[in-house]
Point group: C2
Chain length 451, copies 2
């Protein structure tokens, strides 16, 4: 297989470049047609490798691309998920080469979407092509479900999964949209934190007031917001909202040991981020804090006068964006209600306070002992010569929990990215070594699943 | 005198309209020439009424206009201060008629600068004109010192006063740049709070970080800022900075009684501001809180993501604008140092914090028993039929303390504005009744000073 990958490598890269040229930015309405072009390109690509029932399924937003090949009787069925939409490219001036003009440099391909997720998605399509070429058939049944709204929180894929459970049924959902621990050290992520995001707004008087005339005598919306926000977290980093930690798994020695397996160089992290000290919940390591502990972070704050110099007003309104990462059995709905209660109970005198919810996603933990995952680990080990680790990621991919819950499938997060590949940032890239080894690993995995 | 004011009223208003047409916005560099035009207009106006030694004095910023008439031998010398610069006019769309196209409606003149301070300044010029016309001379010696930088904190007038103490020497500084308690109830302000303004900035990592990957494990600049700001004020409204209250006068029964003389309708204030409750330092009335107690207010705050929707980042920096109003013997420099110490002592883990000072101004209290003030009160009483009150204002006019300290003069704050005249806001206006009665009061005052 390695030989035939080598043989076709240049063409595969040419095709990936073509895919990466499409500015399929799902968040920006001026790119709506480009997203459509992306969907059509994926559908054509699936057809060209022999997938059947290929369909560009329109939604209220951007299309979902479906295709399958279901002739491996008695063999497992694998659902490959990925996304053809990409993040916006700004700030453009920080890109060394234009984001939608892909170039290969130092064994890496640079373009928006290179690692997230076009490169990682496309290696599955090419693995299937090679397997099909080799035997005229596939070792397993394969379904592709490729969406164009991952970067905008998958608003239409969730109902699509709920309404098409039979069509999408499978023995494992395979997703390549995560990354290695570091170069040469693969990872199968077995935990994703849930998410809950909201905006908190505080209003006081009906207009900004002169701080000379009124200062000291009327409620100040920023003081009130600051007081409310500060009441949500203790100085030791613990979240101070009643009920917040309900459902958080107890930290067993076993779990700590598993987390501690992932190497961590604190000095390097501090150096990279130019921080004197890290900070987080007392009594936990960095990887515990970002992997298996929940958190509440203020993402943005705004209020009053923000221009140059000063304007001595008592501001009439202020607001903050807040997001939580959740773990274990924490229920986003319950946590949101707890925050609502907290805000109501701590509302400062003379203020009116409102809370607006943006998103919520359940956390998910995946049992690394599941044979579908252990077999994937075997495939990595054969190709990379090292067994992958099973890290607990701090991020959220909401659709993973939906696949797991609605289709009752194990989800295998076979990432081929590297943490250093500028995901969501200028100069995003993907290492071609992991593109070709990724194809090899996927072929190996599907063959093993057939045994 | 009332008769001759009536006689000339229409012309006076025509001239005021001409003055108000000049968009002499000192804060905006594109209006630099307009500010020059304003200075020249004032100088011409002083010349036309018979003032001598009229001079447009260039500074590093906008000019100061000087003029005098010093032939009332043996009589007191009055220095009239005012400013010909105005605030910016935005938001323009909230003006019912354009800010620099003055119109008279319902007995009020609408324009930027109508009450602050062109209308109030111009009534002195017209009073002098009438006195001069009546007798061919003035009952007192008069000096005008009119600046074009009041709205940008008088950076060049302060050194000008220090360097021209002889030229500006006087027996009273008369300023009309404040307001009545309410329509028909005049006021001579006898206390102005000092001011101290600064910006507090908190930085953490060298870039915004993904709140999934890092959230909970690294310092968050907004959390840190919020924690710092919240530590500056107790929930009962008291400022929590060590040493902040040093120099604040003890609240005697006498002082409380004097403050309580100024009428206050709490229900009306709450209704006007659409507030359920007022809020301030525990144990003090509204007028005490805004008049004779110091305060610390957050005027603006900014940090992290502020667009629509959400972006789940751990923000790298956040900042807030803070201003204090000071009273009694509070020293702005000492207070600033106390805040610096507080910030350093409360700096959250993993953050770097900086403080930048904008302005400072000393508080001032004026003895209402001073004969220059009591005589002004007599003049008001004769014209308005009611004796003015002597309120303690919450605002700051930094130059008042400088006049008092450097020239050792009593300052007579003879305001003719009304608190409802939209100072610094759209649809600023000035009641023409107080324009004409103001001229009458000033004439009456100067005549009484001569007796």
């Amino acid at each position: 297989m390695k030989g035939s990958i080598e043989l076709h490598k240049d063409r595969f890269i040419e095709e990936l470049i073509e895919f990466l040229r499409i500015p399929s930015i799902s968040a920006l309405s001026e790119h709506k047609e480009d997203v459509q072009t992306g969907a059509k390109w994926v559908a054509d690509s699936l057809k060209s490798i022999g997938m059947e029932n290929v369909d560009v399924i329109e939604t209220d937003g951007h299309p979902i691309v479906y295709g399958d090949w279901l002739h491996a009787e008695g063999k497992p069925t694998v659902l490959v998920y990925g996304h053809y939409d990409v993040q916006p490219a700004d700030p453009l001036d920080l890109w060394e080469t234009p984001p939608f003009d892909p170039v290969v440099r130092d064994g890496k391909i640079f373009a928006r979407g290179a690692t997230d997720d076009k490169g990682q998605l496309f290696l599955h399509i090419k693995a299937i092509e090679l397997l099909m070429k080799e035997n005229g058939k596939l070792p397993v049944n394969v379904k592709f479900c490729i969406e164009g709204e991952e970067e905008v929180a998958s608003p239409n894929l969730v109902p699509f999964i709920e309404q098409n459970q039979e069509k999408l049924s499978n023995d494992a959902v395979v997703i390549s949209d995560t990354s290695f621990i570091e170069k040469g050290l693969p990872a199968i992520c077995t935990s994703l934190r849930g998410a809950l995001a909201m905006e908190l707004q505080v209003k006081t008087a009906n207009s900004d007031l002169h701080s000379g005339t009124y200062g000291g005598g009327v409620p100040n919306s920023i003081h009130a917001l600051v007081q409310l926000l500060d009441s949500m977290r203790h100085e030791n980093g613990q979240v101070a909202i009643d009920g917040f930690y309900e459902g958080v798994p107890e930290l067993t020695d076993e779990l700590r040991a598993e987390v501690a397996k992932v190497p961590f160089n604190e000095d390097q992290v501090k150096k990279d981020l130019e921080l004197d000290e890290l900070f987080g919940e007392e009594g936990f390591s960095f990887h515990e804090r970002v992997g298996i502990r929940p958190t509440l972070e203020i993402n943005g704050i705004t209020g009053g006068f923000q221009g140059e110099g000063l304007k001595t007003i008592v501001p009439k309104e202020a607001s903050a964006k807040i997001s939580c990462r959740l773990v274990g059995d924490q229920n986003p709905g319950d946590i949101y209600a707890a925050i609502e209660r907290h805000v109501e109970a701590h509302k400062p005198t003379g203020t009116s306070v409102s809370l607006h919810q943006y998103i919520q996603a359940n956390p998910i933990a995946i049992d690394s002992a599941n044979p579908m995952i252990q077999t994937a680990a075997d495939a990595y080990e054969e190709v990379y010569g090292v067994r992958p680790l099973f890290p607990k990621e701090g991020g959220s991919i909401p659709i993973v929990e939906v696949f797991s819950r609605v289709l009752d499938s194990p989800v295998v997060l076979m990432g081929f990215g590297l943490p250093s590949e500028n995901l969501h940032a200028p100069n995003e890239h993907f290492h071609l070594e992991n593109f070709t080894k990724g194809i090899e690993t996927v072929c190996n995995y599907f063959r093993r699943l057939s045994e």
